[in-house]
Symmetry: C2
Subunit: 271 residues, 2 copies
C-alpha cells in the first residue's frame, strides 16, 4: 500500500529535507519513525502506535525493514514547511488516523521538529515529487525597527522601511514564463532555467510583509533570490523596472543576495 503524508516542520535545527550524513534531516526523522513502527516492538505507550506495531509485526518478514520516503521537494537547511508532501510504501492497509497518530508518536519520541498533519492511502501510481501539479511557498519579512524575539527564526527581520508598492511593481516583471538564470543558485540541478511563475503576491499583515509564490516547480534558491532582489526595490537600492533588466540579463550576479532561509515556508503542494 502506498501512503501520502502532509508534513509540517521547523527547519531551524536541521540540515533540510534530504537525508545527510552529518546531521539531522526531515527525511531521516520520518524514515526513523516509519521503521520504528515497522520493527518488532511493543511496550510503547501510544495505543495507536502499539496496535499498529502489533499489526505490522504479525506479518513482518524481517525485524529491520528499511522504508524509504520521497518528498515533493527538497528544502534547504533552515527552511520550514507548513505542508510538505511525501509518499512511501507499507506492506498492508492501515487506517489514515492510526498512521498519522503513530508517526506523530514516534516523531515526538525522537524530539523531532516534524509533525504529520495528515496521512492517507493513495493509488500506487502516486509520486509525491513527479505527480505534483504545483508548489506554493510563503516568505515572511518582519519590517520594523526592533528585532523580534517571538518570531526569531520564523521571519527575515528587515529594520529599514520597505515600500511594498514598489516591491509589487518589481514583482510583476517576474510573473509568467521566463529564463530565471538570474535567480538560480550555482548548485541548481534543473535541466532548464526556464520556469513559469504563476503567482507572486505581496501582502501586509501588521508589521509583516508576506510573499505568496506559486509555480509548477522552482529553480534552487529561486524564491529566496527573488525575495532578496525585490527587497532592494523596497528599500530604494533598485527601481522596480530594474527587476526586468536583471531578469533579462540571465546572470545571477545581476540580482540581489539570497534572502535568509528562516523566512521561507513550503506551504502546499497540489496534485
Amino acid at each position: 500500500m502506498r501512503y501520502k503524508i502532509t508534513v509540517e516542520y521547523d527547519g531551524t535545527d536541521i540540515l533540510g529535507w534530504q537525508r545527510q550524513l552529518d546531521g539531522p534531516s526531515v527525511q531521516e526523522y520520518l524514515e526513523n519513525a516509519l521503521n520504528f513502527l515497522a520493527e518488532a516492538g511493543g511496550g510503547k505507550n501510544s495505543d495507536a502506535a502499539s496496535e499498529l506495531n502489533t499489526e505490522l509485526t504479525a506479518q513482518a518478514s524481517a525485524p529491520h525493514r528499511l522504508i524509504g520516503i520521497q518528498g515533493a521537494g527538497r528544502t534547504d537547511a533552515g527552511v520550514h514547511a507548513l505542508g510538505q508532501v511525501a509518499h512511501f510504501d507499507l506492506e498492508r492497509n492501515i487506517a489514515d488516523w492510526k498512521l498519522r497518530e503513530a508517526l506523530n508518536f514516534y516523531l515526538r519520541e525522537q524530539n523531532a521538529p516534524v509533525a504529520v498533519l495528515a496521512a492517507e492511502a493513495v493509488d500506487d501510481s502516486f509520486n509525491a515529487r513527479f505527480s505534483a501539479k504545483g508548489r506554493g511557498y510563503v516568505y515572511r519579512i518582519l519590517n520594523r525597527r526592533s528585532p523580534s524575539v517571538l518570531l526569531k527564526n520564523r521571519v527575515w527581520w528587515v529594520p529599514v522601511p520597505l515600500d511594498v508598492e514598489k516591491m509589487r511593481q518589481g514583482a510583476a516583471f517576474l510573473l509568467g514564463r521566463h529564463d530565471f538564470s538570474s535567480f538560480r543558485a550555482a548548485a541548481c540541478q534543473a535541466k532548464s532555467p526556464v520556469k513559469t511563475l504563476d503567482r507572486l503576491d505581496i501582502a501586509t499583515s501588521g508589521e509583516e510583509i508576506i510573499f505568496t509564490v506559486e509555480a509548477k516547480s522552482f529553480l534552487h534558491h529561486q524564491v529566496r533570490n527573488m525575495v532578496g532582489t525585490l527587497k532592494l526595490a523596497g528599500d530604494g537600492h533598485l527601481r522596480p523596472e530594474d527587476i526586468k533588466t536583471i531578469l533579462e540579463l540571465r546572470d545571477r550576479k545581476a540580482a540581489g543576495p539570497t534572502a535568509p532561509a528562516c523566512g521561507l515556508y513550503l506551504s502546499k503542494v497540489w496534485y
Copy 2:
C-alpha cells in the same frame, strides 16, 4: 529623566518578569542592559550604544550605577509579552530612538529573549504599574489533531475539538464586576478578589482559538484559570451555564485547571 519602554519577550526559557535568584528574568536582562549602558565602556560595535555610552560616561559619578526598572505587571515563567511596559530613571536626556537601539544592542549581546519596541521620555509622575488604566492579554489555543512544531511554546495545543460557541456562552457569565475567587491562584497577593472584566472575546483564526481579555487589573493566574475552565465548556465536560455556578461558588476547586503558561501573552497596557 524618567523613561517608559514597551517590551516584547519570549517567556519560554525565563523565570518570568521578576528578578529571581535561581535563573534569568526579563527584569534582570533589562537591568543588565541599562547598567551596561550606564557603565564606563567603549569598544562596543553599535554606533548608537557607543555614542550613548560616551555621553553617559562623561557625567557618570560612579563606574557601576544600579538602575532599577519597574514593570506594569509581573508575568509568570513561560508567559510571553507583546507589549509589557516598564519605567526607570536615567540622569540625563537621551533621544528615544537612541535609547531603544542601545538597549536592543545590549540585550542581543546577552542573547536575551527580550526586545525593546519603543522608548520615550515621560513625566516623573509616570509609574508603569500604578498609572496603568488597563491591561490586555491574548491567549492562543491551537485546536487540531496534530501537534505543531512551528508553534511549539507559542500556543496551548488542544487536540480534542472545541465548540467555540459554547465557550463564548460560558465566557459571557464572566464579564463585568465579580468576586473571581474561583479563578484566583492560592499565591495571589491582591487585597480583594473582586475585579471588573471589561472584555473576554473568543475569535478563531485558521486552526487557532484566540482569547482577548481586558481589565484594569487581574488576579494571579486569573486569565489562565478562566481559559482552562472555558476549555471544559468547549470540550463538553461542562455546560456553558456551569461557568456561572463556578463563579458564584467563589472556590478555586470548583473551576477547571490552569491553562499552560505558553499560550498567554501580555499584549498591551494603557495609561
